[in-house]
Amino acid sequence: MRWLWIDRFIEFERGRKAVAVKNVSIVEEEIDDYTPGFPIMPASLIIEGMAQTAGLLIGETGGFQDRVVLAKIGKAVFHRLALPGDQLRYTAVVEDMRRDGSIAHVTSHIGDELHAEVELMFAFLPQDERFPSGPLFEPVDFLAMVRAFGLYDVAKTESGEPASPPESYLQFERAAEAQYPTGPLER
């Protein structure tokens, strides 16, 4: 199982706002097993999906060059349970962006109903002796993941133009495709 807690982006405005959906299915192990006999999606994993929505929004602003990590959950309020068959719609809005971190407010809606709201703080890991050096993700895998989320199907720049993956990531992708022309990257 991969640690992917959103299914698809449906809106993405660089540096401002992203909307992603997560379909809750009874076939998912964590939903079937979390509270046996009463299948619900655990709140912790809902927050993870909200953080992935906001974290990718924040990371994309800097061309995915910053090492963005969820550092603090300032507030989390859940108004109802998420049940199999529900579609959760996460809307992340950047509230503050600084050199060393960023704050996002994220809501989850089920239909028109407000399901949950969280305030998330992200840190940009500095390149110093406290943390391992290098990127958090392997570039080719990372790009495959954000493409799978449909991020670049909907992403727009600040001026409303379609956004593309950063050139540095595309270079890694092209090199991998040249090495494995019919491999897993074929779309």
Partner: protein
Amino acid sequence: MPTKDEVFQKVRAALVDALGVDDEEVTPQATMVGDLGAESIDFLDIVFKLEKSFGIEIPRKELSPEDILTNAEFVQDGKLTSAGLAELKRRMPFVDFASFEANPQIRDFSNLLTVGALCRYIEQKLGIA
């Protein structure tokens, strides 16, 4: 223009919200790191809340002058030199250096920022005498 008491009340509300501490713990003497348990990421949260609450801008360097603490000219054997201490005092006039300056170890710097110092910083920003 808010009064000094109103500044304190707003600072306290921001700290209670950001750090999950009780109202009574937030006294002017309480240190942000040692007493209230603030970690580096909390300062991002606190600064954001204070900026919104007071309608001011708080540049990172004003509350966290890391450039002084990492400058070889100002630091020797883990201690601030007299030039370093003078520069720190100039940059952070809202901080009480009385006990720190006898033995200005870098590792003790994080406990210089008290709730009272934070209030004085905001009062200076707002021009409250």
